[in-house]
């Protein structure tokens, strides 16, 4: 145990070549120190039901990724660094999904891993299925380290994806009508933020600015209130909810599979195309 602790506390610059090497060595030592009959915890093993809540300082994001992956975590984390916010989601011992305001998948993971300081906190997002990150977490860390070694003073340069394009993909809009979704790109060009929740209330897609988890909670509760109001008045099944705020308009709709999509857009955004597309 002591030897393991010593290994973990080697003082290194997080993204030096030596760090890359240390990650590999540490990994090998950690794995080789495990008893042969020890198994990686499965999602159902209940490993998250016991344990400590901890606040740690000077922990790097690669440390977090390594800890979560080695423990077979099913957790998700919000990473805040200066004005940037990103999300890392783990499942089955892998980093399976990452997203920032403009990126998702491995590109988002690379960007998040390039952030040098900030805060990490658990969040309730659940990783989408299928995963958006397909490579092994060690490979991901290697690539991130390599990028930082090659360009240590600047963040990783990645292709930015427009929010409207993001909303336009079949994951956010109804996947059964992708060709119609493609035609609604202009209508969504002023989207401020958007979330999509599955039938269990898990956030499967989040885009845009602000606290998306809070917006997801708001949307989920608003749907429930609209449903019970409708039931109380005998109005029939809930379909959609729209609201007007001083600086934005909201649109939330339920789909036939039970999922809910919710977005807020600039007052100048043209939402009629989207309304037509979802049959309003």
């Amino acid at each position: 145990m002591d030897s393991l602790l010593e290994t973990h506390t080697i003082p290194l610059h997080p993204w030096s070549v030596a760090w890359t090497f240390a990650v590999v060595v540490m990994l090998i030592k950690t794995l080789s120190s495990m008893p042969e009959n020890a198994s990686v915890p499965t999602p159902d093993s209940g490993i998250r039901q016991v344990g400590f809540e901890a606040q740690l300082q000077r922990v790097t994001l690669p440390d977090l990724v390594q800890m979560e992956c080695l423990s077979g975590s099913e957790a998700s984390f919000r990473v805040v660094s200066a004005a940037n916010t990103g999300y890392l989601m783990f499942s089955g011992g892998q980093l399976v999904h990452a997203m920032t305001r403009t990126l998702r998948g491995e590109a988002a993971a690379q960007e998040i891993l390039s952030w040098q300081q900030g805060k990490v906190e658990p969040c309730k997002f659940r990783a989408p299925n299928p995963p958006t990150i397909l490579c092994h977490w060690q490979e991901l860390l290697m690539r991130a380290a390599q990028r930082c070694d090659e360009n240590p003073t600047t963040n990783v340069v990645l292709e930015k994806v427009n929010v409207a394009q993001e909303l336009n993909d079949s994951e956010f809009l109804s996947s059964d009508e992708p060709e119609k979704a493609a035609g609604s790109g202009r209508a969504l060009s002023k989207v401020i933020r958007a979330v999509r929740l599955d039938t269990q209330g898990n956030v499967v897609v989040a885009r845009g600015e602000g606290n998306q988890e809070e917006f997801a909670e708001l949307s989920a509760y608003a749907v429930r209130m609209a449903q019970v109001v409708g039931e109380g008045l005998g109005m029939g099944a809930f379909r959609a909810l729209e609201w007007t705020l001083p600086n934005r308009n909201g649109l939330l709709y339920g789909e036939s599979n039970g999922s809910v999509a919710s977005l807020e857009a600039s007052p100048h955004a043209e939402l009629n195309t989207l309304r037509r597309r979802i049959g309003l």
Binding site: M225, A226, V229, G230, L233, R239, L241, E242, W243, L245
Partner: protein, 147 residues
């Protein structure tokens, strides 16, 4: 019959309106112009939920309009200060006409003293037993006194 209730009944000039009622920010139903099938107990349950929905959506400033679409009907909420006018309408309601009518009714309700609105004696259209709860006390909306 109060002027406020007359204003509310004016909404029926728009085709497709089933009825309407007025809810305070606390969810108390102050006025109603609804068919008898909408019972008081149903409204007493719905009122607070509409207030909660209004509060939920007011995260970036006060929400002014809410439109809930159901399979065959629409529920339109016009929120203004202490009050929210709730309109039950058919799916095919002419929304511009309804919005204009709501503008007029909300102006009319704002002109009416909230205390006076709440003190309308129970009659055909109003919810009985609500007048005493708000007539004497000043009305507040999100911490600001509005009457």
């Amino acid at each position: 019959m109060s002027n406020a209730l007359e204003s509310l009944k004016g909404l029926r000039d728009v085709d497709g309106i089933i009825g309407s009622f007025v809810v305070s920010a606390q969810g108390v139903v102050l006025l109603r112009d609804l068919p008898a099938m909408f019972t008081q107990s149903a409204l007493a349950e719905v009122g607070p939920r509409i207030a909660r929905l209004r509060d939920t959506l007011s995260h970036e400033g006060d929400v002014s309009n809410i439109v809930i679409r159901y399979e065959d009907h629409k529920l339109v909420v016009r929120a203004q200060l202490e009050l929210a006018i709730v309109v039950l309408a058919e799916q095919g309601i002419h929304m511009p006409q309804l919005k204009m009518a709501l503008n007029l009714v909300s102006k009319s309700l704002l002109k009416a003293d909230l205390g006076a609105l709440a003190s309308v004696p129970p009659g055909v259209g109003e919810v009985p037993g609500r007048a005493e709860s708000t007539v004497a006390a000043p009305a507040y909306y999100r911490g600001h006194r509005v009457s």
